[in-house]
Symmetry: C2
Subunit: 348 residues, 2 copies
DNA sequence: CTGCTTTCCGACATCGTTGTCACGGTTTCA
DNA sequence: TGAAACCGTGACAACGATGTCGGAAAGCAG
C-alpha cells in the first residue's frame, strides 16, 4: 500500500531530451532546436515542446551537449587563489565572478593555501573538467608544467604573481612602486630609521616589496647599513615578536614598514604592548578593514583586488573571444591612504 | 617556411583516449583501464599506456566519462552564498571546499547579492552542469521551485537561513539565542534602556534576532514600550544616521545592540562622532576582524561560519553516501566575546 | 594432448546531446 | 505550369568516454 503512494511521488528519473520529445510527440532534434532557441520551428510546435519540457522539469545536460557542440566550450572557468577565506581574494573572486556570470560562465574556485604541492593537482582537476580558461594565483617555483596546456590555446591569466617558466598574461599590483610609495611617505615625515618587516623571502611579491623599499632609501641617500630589514615573517605571532625585539633594542626604529596584513597586525599589537602606537609611525602594505577606526588610524598602501579581478577577467574573456596579442603583464597601481599612523613624526 | 616551424610547435589538439591507444598500440578500453587504475592489465601494457599518455599530456575528459559511468557522479558541487567577497561566506566557503577537495570534489561558487531574481537562474546553471549536490544560502521567499530536484534525490543543504516551501537539511546559527545572549549581557551590566538596531525586516534571520532580543527583555521583566527598536537598516550610512538621531534624542539609550556587521560599524562611527564610545555600551551580532584592536574593544556575539561550512559539507557528503535520515535543521551555537564595549556600565 | 580456468585484452553498444543531411510540403517566380 | 526556393522536421552519426561481453593466449590438471 505504501508502495503505491510512494511510487506516485517517488523519485522520477531526470528526464532526457528523448523523453521530452516523446511527450511532445516530436523528434528529438526539434526539442534541441526549441531548447536552444534555434529558428525554423513553427510556433505551435515550439509551444508544445516548451510545455512538455516544463511539465517534466527538463534541464538540458550542458556537458553532454558540449561533447558534440562545435566550439567545445563548457562555459566554465577555473580560479585558483591563495585562499577563498582571504578577503583580498574574496574581493578579487567577486570581480571575476561578476564578469563571468554576465556571460553565463560559471566559476570553479579553489584555495592553494601556499601549498605548491597542490597546485598541479588542482589545475589538473580544472583541466579534466575542461574549463574554458584559468585565472591563477600560483605559488610553485615554476609553471612550466602548464606549457602543453598553453600550446593548446587554453587562455590563462596569472594574478598576484607573475608566472615563471612560461609566457602568459599576468595582472599584478605594482609591488615595488607601492613599497617605494610607503617609504617615501615615511621619509617625507622625517624618518630615517625605518624598519622593514617582510613576508617569506621565497615569495616573489615579498621580494619585490623589499626591493622597492631599499631602492627608495637609496634614492633618498639614506644609508641602508643600519636599517633593520627583517624577513620571513608569515604570521601575526612572528611579526609581533620581531617588533618587540626591535622596540627593546638599543637604537629602536622611529617608523615601521610592514609588508603584509598579518605582519601589520602583529606589529600594531606589539606597539600597543609598549604603548608606542602614537610615537612610532607605521605604514602597512595592503588595506585592512576597519583600519580607519583604529587609533591612530592605520595608514596603508592599498592594493586594488577588485581591479585586479576585473582586468584578469577582461583579459581572459578577450582571449576567449580570439584576442591573439602577445602575452604581457598588466600592472594595477597601488594607492597610499593616510589615516594617521603613517604621519607620526620621528621621536628620539 | 614559417609554416614548417610553426607546425612543429603549433597548437596540438587535445588528445583523446583513442589517440593514446593508437600511440601505445593497444585498444581504447585498455587505456581506460589504466587511466582508472582498474585491474587485469599486465604491468608491461600498463607501463606502455602510461608512457603514451604522458607523452601526449593526456587529461581524461571527466564529463564524457560521466555520461556513461554507472553512478553518474560529476564530483562537483554547487555553493550559493550571499557574496564570495563577504568574509563570513569566505570562511564558510573555505570549510566546504576543504571537505570537498578531500574527496576529489570541485566546488562551483556563486554570489547571490540579495537578489532573489538571480537565485533560480544560478541554481539552474548548477543543475545544467549536473552538480552532485547543492549548498545554498537562499534569499527568495520560497524554495518550492526546488521540489522537483529534491524528488530526484539531489542532496541539498541550506545554510544561514532555513528553506521555505520544501523540507531539506539546514545548518543555521542560533540567531534568537545569540541575540538573547547579547541582550542578557547588557542587562547584567545594568542597562535597561537598550536600543535595537536591525537589518531589513524581510530577512528571516534579522527577524529571529529581533525576536531573541525582545523575548530576553520580556524574561527580564523590562517593559519594551520605551525601548527603541529600529529596523530596515542595511548599510553603514543608514545605521550611522539612525544612531546619531538616537543619541541626540531627549532620552538616549545607554546601550546598543546592533544586529549585523555593517550596522555595528555605522553605530561605532556615530558614537565616535559624539565622543561617546566609552560611555555607551555596544554589543554587535557577528564578529569583525580587528575588533579587539579598537578602543574600546568591540564585544560581539560571534557566529561560527567555519563550523557552519563543516557541518553543511558533512551533511551533504553523508547524503551522497546514501544517508536517508529525515531532513532536519542543525543549529550551530553562537558565542559571546567580551572585549570591552559590551561591559561599559550605564551612564545617566 | 585434451579440456578447463585464468589472465589479458578489444569490439561494440551506449550515455545525452548537437551537426549534417535529406525529405516532404508550400510558396514564389519566371 | 514547372522549377526553384524555402520551411519545418526527423533519421543518423558523432563527441569521448565506460560497461558488457566474448575471445585469444597462457597455464594447469588429467
Amino acid at each position: 500500500m505504501t508502495t503505491m503512494s510512494e511510487s506516485s511521488v517517488g523519485p522520477r528519473p531526470r528526464p532526457t531530451m528523448r523523453q521530452v520529445a516523446a511527450l511532445a510527440g516530436v523528434g528529438i532534434k526539434t526539442v534541441s532546436r526549441v531548447i536552444n532557441g534555434e529558428p525554423d520551428v513553427s510556433p505551435a510546435t515550439r509551444a508544445k515542446v516548451k510545455q512538455a519540457a516544463d511539465s517534466l522539469d527538463y534541464q538540458p545536460d550542458l556537458h553532454a551537449g558540449n561533447l558534440r557542440r562545435a566550439d567545445g566550450r563548457t562555459k566554465t572557468l577555473g580560479l585558483l587563489v591563495g585562499s577563498v577565506a582571504n578577503p583580498f581574494y574574496g574581493t578579487l573572486h567577486r570581480a571575476v565572478e561578476k564578469a563571468a556570470t554576465a556571460r553565463g560562465i560559471a566559476v570553479f574556485a579553489s584555495s592553494l593555501d601556499d601549498d605548491s604541492e597542490r597546485e598541479e593537482a588542482l589545475v589538473s582537476a580544472f583541466l579534466q573538467r575542461r574549463v574554458d580558461g584559468l585565472i591563477l594565483a600560483t605559488v610553485a617555483t615554476s609553471q612550466a608544467y602548464l606549457a602543453p596546456e598553453l600550446r593548446r590555446r587554453t587562455p590563462m591569466v596569472f594574478i598576484d604573481r607573475e608566472p615563471a617558466g612560461i609566457e602568459a598574461d599576468a595582472v599584478v599590483s605594482d609591488n615595488a612602486a607601492g613599497a617605494a610609495l610607503a617609504t617615501r611617505h615615511l621619509l617625507e615625515h622625517g624618518h630615517r630609521r625605518i624598519a622593514y618587516l617582510g613576508d617569506l623571502d621565497s615569495i616573489q611579491t615579498a621580494r619585490e616589496r623589499r626591493r622597492g623599499f631599499l631602492e627608495e632609501l637609496g634614492r633618498a641617500g639614506v644609508a641602508t647599513r643600519d636599517i633593520p630589514v627583517i624577513v620571513d615573517l608569515h604570521d601575526e605571532a612572528s611579526a609581533n615578536r620581531a617588533v618587540l625585539a626591535l622596540l627593546d633594542s638599543p637604537n629602536p626604529p622611529t617608523a615601521l614598514f610592514t609588508s603584509q596584513n598579518l605582519v601589520t597586525i602583529g606589529a600594531i599589537t606589539a606597539l600597543r604592548a609598549r604603548a608606542l602606537q602614537n610615537r612610532v609611525a607605521v605604514v602597512g602594505f595592503d588595506d585592512i578593514s576597519l583600519a580607519d577606526l583604529l587609533s591612530p588610524g592605520l595608514s596603508v598602501v592599498a592594493q586594488n583586488p577588485q581591479r585586479i579581478g576585473e582586468v584578469a577577467a577582461e583579459r581572459l574573456l578577450a582571449r576567449l573571444d580570439g584576442d591573439q596579442t602577445p602575452a604581457h603583464p598588466y600592472i594595477v597601481p597601488t594607492e597610499l591612504i593616510a589615516r594617521g599612523s603613517g604621519e607620526i613624526g620621528p621621536h628620539a
